[in-house]
């Protein structure tokens, strides 16, 4: 067998080991992974706790959004109802959509990832547990405050996609829209943090032997999901920032009278918004693939084709954003391309559906609650998929655009493709984290109420839409033939509500959180999450030899629990996990992991405070909160990148692994690369915006001159990059004690800041005004982005200097220096490209 890293795969044949284990081994492991108690739980970072909090919070937002939906359905049950005034109705449907998409669907998938992945991969935890905690608290605090705005009449009211000019200051003068723009922008940052955690976790913390070909499909799905978040979410972050800047500073990005364009918002929003649908669907598909196999008691049919389908869906989903814009007058040829891609995306979805059907057909499925939800989801999703192909046909889309037909379609897709699989998953995996499983008897009632309610609500809604009822209207006139279908839809909505209420009752009655002594593998799954676990995940980390190890290795659970595989205790007395290679999952080194801490919580609170206080225009407290967030985050980071006395330790079977690693294979390096992908996507989207408005409104563009400034700016950035390389080079040399390598990096950070200042000064000298035209506004947006990078670069080099002063930068290579260098190089590159693009794209071609 070949090796990816030089590790001899034959070494893994030593497991399971024989002979007795040391008496205190398990006690030491438990001590290292002990979770805080009482109020201290707020500082917990173990994935069991954070994952459960996360799932609970996402489910809470689902309930709240569901209640809003019920009130809306009451309003629409009969014509001219007076339950909700028009303005409140606007806030309700905006909140319903926003909560479901941003605060339930995506976070629920991330939550399930945080909860399930370490166990499925047999890692001790995800690689950045404090980042998980930060992501959760930021999401929970931000989401709660966002929802509460409803009670003050301040909730956003422009629809979940917030199109300008409706959401500009002319038509939305209050702060309602700002709540959405700042709140959602902030929550998306939390989603990106979670995605980086999941990506690195899946690639680097799999159990030895779990090659790409043996990965659980949920892990594949989460890998694709997280990758899509990194590519898609920057678009909406940029869009929300631009619209907020337009509202706050009068910079006309979307104002057609000053060279901006409202279509720019739609492009940016839907470049995020349509992949978002698949970002929600793919993890649910991963859950379904795993459950179908376990419930049918047979391996999944077409594993490799399903992997291909996940990857293909991700790629194609980025080519369908404009099918939401068929009625906006785009060029005919463009419309043709988007229509073709929109139809093509049904192919990979179809592959998965057929794989599930085939697995159920060849296996021996039992009629239990998860099976019912899986099949119900399948049926519902297929109906939604078919109407999706219908609306991919441009002439048909023109007829039903913005009608209740679309509402029906999207609910079929999202409820069938995500909500039912999540409910199936809640039934299926609850025994993994609860002393008792949920009730099968009640579960079947829950399913039938929800399934029947779903069809009763949304099937007639297709007709309502075909009869011409538009979306987002708070009432309708009698005598238009809309009464019967609307009344039936309302009745169906209450059936769904009854099903969900029954589920909550079941949850209250049976769910009892536990890490040990759980109900266990009730449905007979074959993957690693069903191994016996504690707060440390599995007692020892198994060697994986197939896709369903529990089915193929009958003694695996016993051997793992007796510590007969890798890392049967704690090798250093600290929290640790094995980092493996991304393709073949060969052990590379031992990661020392940080324990509980209040700093991620404080960091999240202050970050949330910054955004929320900004929303209510409390600028001074917002700045204070933002400033406090910085040291909180730095303090949390201070405990990471630590070395221990032993450079190598025995992880079992005589295999010795390093306790510190640097360079391009480390988990920290991977995380920084992914962060830079996000930064690069924000930048690319800004370039798109720049070229888009230049192409649409060239008459508003001027040649400001000042091209000569590009040369010194680019030169300074090149100098900064050179200093970074010099610093890294000097760190590798033993004799560089007098002139610390951190000094070069410090100088590099200062040079980046100087380059930005020169660039900015150059523009100020030309007399351009960002309020006058979209060109000026976009130049300022570029400069603001680069200014942010320069500020972060300065903070990073100061952090590096502080660590150097405490002798925490290790020779010959340091992870902190590696990641700071990477960031500085990127900042320099983006700065140079910014200087060139803003000056060289002609003003009057």
């Amino acid at each position: 067998m070949k090796s990816e890293t030089g590790f001899d795969p034959a070494l893994l044949d030593r497991f399971p080991t024989k002979g007795p284990r040391p008496d205190d081994e398990l006690a030491r492991l438990e001590e290292a992974w002990r979770a805080p108690k009482g109020w201290g739980l707020l500082t917990a970072v173990n994935n069991n706790y954070i994952g459960t909090f996360y799932v609970g919070a996402a489910f809470l937002f689902f309930l709240l959004a569901g209640v809003l939906a019920l009130v809306m359905r009451v309003q629409l049950a009969l014509p001219l109802q007076g339950v909700l005034p028009q303005e409140t109705y606007n806030q309700f449907f905006t909140m319903h959509g926003t909560l479901m998409m941003f605060l339930f669907a995506v976070p629920m998938m991330e939550a399930l990832g945080v909860l399930l992945l370490p166990q499925m991969l047999a890692a001790r935890d995800l690689p950045f547990p404090r980042l998980s905690a930060y992501a959760f608290w930021a999401y929970f605090v931000g989401g709660t405050c966002f929802f509460l705005s409803l009670f003050f009449g301040l909730a956003p009211n422009g629809g979940w996609f917030m199109y300008p000019p409706l959401t500009g200051t002319t038509y939305s003068p209050g702060i309602n829209a700002d709540f959405w723009l700042l709140g959602i922008g902030f929550i998306e940052i939390s989603a990106i943090a979670g995605a980086i955690e999941i990506l690195v976790g899946v690639l680097k913390t799999r159990a030895p032997g779990m090659t790409l070909a043996r990965m659980p499909l949920f892990a594949w799905a989460m890998l694709v999901f997280a990758g899509m978040i990194l590519i898609a979410f920057p678009a909406v972050i940029l869009a929300t920032l631009l619209l907020e800047l337009e509202r706050a500073l009068n910079w006309p990005f979307f104002d057609a009278t000053r060279g901006g364009d409202p279509m720019l918002w739609q492009h940016l929003f839907w470049f995020f918004g349509h992949p978002e649908v698949y970002i929600i669907f793919l993890p649910a598909a991963g859950l379904t693939s795993m459950m179908v196999s376990a419930l049918a008691r047979t391996p999944l049919v077409g594993y490799q084709l399903v992997v291909l389908a996940l990857l293909a869906t991700a790629f194609i989903s980025f080519g369908v954003w404009a099918h939401h814009m068929f009625t906006t007058g785009m060029p005919t040829l463009s419309i043709g391309f988007f229509a073709a891609a929109s139809m093509a995306v049904s192919l990979p979805a179809g592959v998965q559906v057929f794989a599930w059907i085939a697995t159920l057909a060849v296996g021996k499925p039992r009629c239990n609650t998860p099976t019912l939800f899986v099949i119900g989801g399948l049926v519902t999703f297929v109906i939604g998929g078919l109407t999706g192909v219908m609306v991919a046909m441009v002439p048909f889309d023109w007829q039903v655009h913005d009608t209740h037909f679309i509402v029906a379609h999207l609910h079929y897709v999202l409820i069938g493709g995500a909500v039912f699989p999540v409910f199936a998953g809640l039934y299926y995996w609850t025994p993994m984290m609860s002393r008792r499983a949920l009730s099968e008897r009640l579960g079947k009632w829950v399913f039938w109420l929800m399934f029947a309610g779903m069809q009763v609500t949304f099937l007639p809604m297709h007709l309502t839409g075909m009869m011409g009822m538009p979306r987002r209207v708070y009432t309708y006139l009698p005598g238009m033939g809309l009464e019967p279908t609307n009344l039936v839809s309302t009745a169906g909505a209450f059936m769904i509500g009854a099903g969900v209420a029954l589920f909550v009752f079941d949850l209250a009655r049976n769910f009892r959180f536990a890490v040990e002594g759980t109900a266990g593998n009730v449905y007979g799954g074959g993957t690693l999450e069903w191994l016996p676990t504690g707060l440390y995940s599995t007692r020892s980390i198994p060697v994986v030899r197939s896709r369903e190890p529990l089915w193929d290795q009958p003694d695996l659970a016993r051997d793992v629990d007796e510590g007969r595989y890798l890392l049967p205790g704690t090798a250093t007395g600290l929290r640790e996990t094995i980092i493996t290679s991304p393709i073949r999952a060969e052990p590379q080194y031992l990661q020392i992991m940080p324990g509980p801490s209040a700093w991620p919580l404080l960091g999240a609170l202050f970050t949330a405070g910054f955004f929320l206080l900004l929303t209510v225009q409390a600028y001074t407290p917002a700045v204070i909160s933002g400033v406090l967030a910085v040291p909180s985050i730095m303090r949390w980071l201070w405990d990471t990148d630590r070395t221990v006395a032993e450079p190598e330790v025995d992880v079992g079977g005589g295999i010795r692994l390093r306790t510190y690693a640097t360079g391009s294979g480390t988990h920290g390096w991977w995380a920084m690369v992914m962060l830079l992908v996000v930064a690069a996507m924000v930048f690319l989207m800004t370039v798109f915006a720049f070229l888009f408005v230049r192409g649409v409104h060239p008459e508003y563009w001027s040649d400001y001159g000042g091209k000569g400034w590009a040369l010194p700016v680019v030169g300074l950035y090149a100098g900064a990059a050179g200093l970074v390389w010099l610093g890294r080079y000097l760190l590798r040399r033993e004799g560089s004690t007098h002139w610390s390598p951190a000094t070069q990096v410090l100088l590099a950070g200062a040079t980046i800041a100087l380059a930005w200042a020169v660039d900015f000064t150059g523009w100020r000298g030309t007399g351009f005004d960002p309020e006058l035209s979209a060109q000026g506004a976009l130049v300022m947006a570029f400069l603001a982005q680069q200014g942010l990078l320069a500020a972060v670069a300065l903070l990073m080099v100061l952090y590096l200097a502080a660590r150097t002063s405490r002798n925490l930068i290790v020779r010959p290579r340091s992870v902190t220096l590696d990641v700071v260098s990477l960031f500085l190089l990127y900042a320099a590159a983006q700065g140079a490209v910014t200087a060139l693009i803003t000056r060289l794209v002609p003003g009057g071609w």
Binding site: Q304, P331, L333, F337, A341
Partner: protein
């Protein structure tokens, strides 16, 4: 990185083809030249997919189990991409 390039190569060709087509359609709306450009880009994408397909079929025969699995996945991706590229270009050719 080589393994990821094999797995994602075909799909990347499809994505590149799509975005170039979108760029052409946006920059040259309504012009006949746009259709010829689309045709040229499509032929290039088909060639790239064909190359990946040919390479992965060859690699699949020689490699160990995991490499063969990766090559097969890459080959399937390239085959899917081939279909998607032709389908994608159809509006420009047919309209």
């Amino acid at each position: 990185m080589r393994a990821w390039a094999i797995v994602l190569g075909g799909l990347a060709v499809w994505a590149a083809h799509f975005f170039v087509l979108y760029g052409i359609a946006s920059a040259m709306p309504g012009r006949v030249g746009a259709r010829w450009l689309v045709l040229i880009v499509t032929l290039a994408a088909i060639a790239a997919d064909g190359l990946i397909l040919w390479r992965t079929i060859g690699a699949g025969r020689r490699a160990d189990a995991l490499e063969a699995w990766i090559a097969r996945l890459g080959g399937l991706g390239a085959a899917l991409s081939l279909v998607a590229v032709v389908w994608q270009a159809a509006p420009a050719v047919a309209m």
